[in-house]
Amino acid sequence: MRRRPLLPLLLVAPAALLFLVFFVAPLVTLAINSFYDYSRMRGIIEVFTLKNYQRLWLDEYYLAIIGRTFRLSGTVSLVTLLVGYPIALYLIVATPRAKSIVIAMILSPLLVSVIVRTFGWAVIMGKNGLVEQAFAAIGIPDIAFLHTEAAVVVGLVNVLTPFMVLAIATSLQSMDPSVPLAATSLGAGPWDLLRRVLLPLSLPGITAGLLIVFGLSSASFVTPAVLGGSQFKVLSVIMYQQAVVLQNWPFAAAVAVTLMVIVLVVQGIQHRVSERGGPQAMIP
């Protein structure tokens, strides 16, 4: 019997070990917890129950929150794509100097702590803030922008755009530079070039970007909590309230597992679609 080479396994061992100990094991604990019972007077009761999932899935109130969470993530993903795609396109033609400046600019939100950044937005969007003044200047006074879904979308797009831009730019850059040239010399106008050459070739990047942004925004907490206000409830906010304020870890775990399962399902579908579609499918 041939012995399996050990070295390849060893190469992935550190990462695998880290992943197992700090990612898989906590997730398993979380999943187990979500089936435990809880009462405020007795704490966590380690018996199997479906109570937490029933409470979450059979209540219109929570179903609306699930819906809102994924509507928010969907909106943020699409807006990030619209904002990020032109930047990614620009990056393939930019001079190295311009490129590094643009990359530094889009990465800059990530360098600021989420708390500082979010409270910064709260000041800009809040009463007498920049947004209000701008609207007042064009004749729309008394606009309340802070604590709306739009405010949350703006806050999330601000920080998630780099993920989209870098994902798309990577796939555009792996394209042979002569491809767009060839298309143009064969008579493709800018629109045809975008629709029939660039978009299909960058589809893997778009998919990756959408997946990352969707996942990150569905799990974001500080931005919806601060910019959305107390009325804007998403799953992460409910999780915080249940886990930290009420110590109802089993219910919080059930919310977390639900969030994770839905994100995984969405990612699975998107992956299948883009795998099957591929670049050719976009070309009529």
């Binding site: 409270f119 000041v123 309230q241 304020v245």
Partner: protein, 355 residues
């Protein structure tokens, strides 16, 4: 073969490294204590003044673990099998909750001579923790805006419902103690009780529906911001926050409403199985000593429980201090609050936070 041996050695090294990283808790040093409590002004004052003084007097070094009352409590619960914290300093509600959960240890009364100098009610049955400070929740308003509008200062909790405050009132999120207290108090004032909060909920819903509420703060820091930006002119707050804002020169004043400000208390609780029980008792004794109680009252604005603590007239006038002031405070049934908290939050989410 060689590869295999190399591999095995590497694996051993790796495990060794992992083991090093996960070494067991430091052997409890006799001169250390881990104290967990709020951030902000409280933490500043502890770090700058109280901790150095304690270290100088006893040679015991204090480690301050900072967080919100709730997040620290969650941490205490999560680490109950391997406690990292010696003393947890928070309010009644978490004192009751933690006692119920069995995460606190009793005090060693012999090691805490200052226990004998406390006001009635501060010592707990079975020495389970000790009430270390008295605080109150009252109204806070913007003196400048009120003066400009020609309004009198607020005198009653029900002033929040005054139609002239349309778009001027800030609420706290129900995750914050002050809102849980407002809910209980409004229930009581509207014919309900801690066990029947429906009337209170209805009353606060009314406040929202009439358009008085212009902002909801998720944290005290956010409330500071809302008041500073003029997004709201009146709200309710803890006396410590109200008084420190006033002293910082902000045009904000704190008032005790005529129905009474709501009394809440701070408790020092030793954590069961904490790494440094001996030093913990010493630090608790230090914190309830008369001079330190007075210092805390004058600088971070929590009323003392040590009978011998002497306050300046300014602090004595506004803090819950002395029999008359204490008698004027409203008491809430914290046992019921703790028991019903899940249901309160759920109802508030659905009724008050609904669009």
């Amino acid at each position: 073969m060689t590869t295999r041996r190399m591999g095995r050695r590497a694996a051993t090294g790796l495990l060794g490294a992992a083991a090093l990283g996960m070494r067991p808790r430091r052997a409890a040093a006799a001169n250390e204590v881990v104290f967990a409590s709020f951030g902000g002004a409280v933490e500043q004052y502890f770090r700058k003044t109280l901790m150095p003084q304690f270290e100088q007097e006893t040679g015991i070094k204090v480690t301050y673990v900072v967080g919100t009352a709730m997040s620290l409590y969650s941490r205490v619960l999560a680490t109950r099998n391997r406690p990292e914290v010696d003393i947890y300093w928070a309010n009644d509600l978490l004192h009751i909750a933690g006692k119920q959960a069995g995460v606190y240890a009793p005090l060693d009364a012999k090691a805490i001579p200052n226990l004998d100098k406390l006001v009635d009610g501060a010592r707990q049955p079975g020495e389970m923790g000790v009430m270390s400070q008295v605080a109150s929740t009252g109204l806070q308003y913007n003196t400048e805006k009120f003066r400009q509008a020609g309004w009198q200062k607020p005198t009653s909790w029900l002033d929040l419902w005054d139609p002239k405050f349309k778009g001027k009132v800030a609420l706290y999120s129900i995750n914050v103690l002050y809102s849980q207290e407002l809910l209980a108090l409004m229930a009581k004032l509207s014919g309900g009780s801690e066990a029947n909060i429906a009337p209170g909920l209805k009353k606060i819903k009314e406040l929202k529906d009439m358009g008085n509420v212009s902002a909801v703060a998720g944290t005290p820091a956010e409330m500071d911001n809302i008041l500073a930006q003029g997004q709201a002119w009146i709200t309710y707050n803890g006396c410590n926050r109200g008084l420190s804002a006033r002293l910082s020169g902000a045009p904000l004043d704190f008032v005790n409403p005529k129905e009474g400000a709501i009394q809440y208390n701070l408790f020092l609780d030793p954590i069961k199985g904490g790494p440094n029980p001996g030093p913990a008792m010493k630090f608790i004794d230090f914190l309830i000593r008369a001079d330190i109680q007075a210092k805390i009252a004058e600088n971070i604005f929590y009323g003392p429980v040590n009978r011998e603590a002497k306050l300046s007239p300014e602090a004595a006038a506004v803090l819950p201090y002395g029999p008359a002031a204490l008698k004027a405070l409203v008491q809430l049934d914290r046992e019921v609050m703790n028991r019903e908290l899940d249901s309160w939050l759920d109802q508030w989410n659905r009724v008050i936070d609904a669009k």
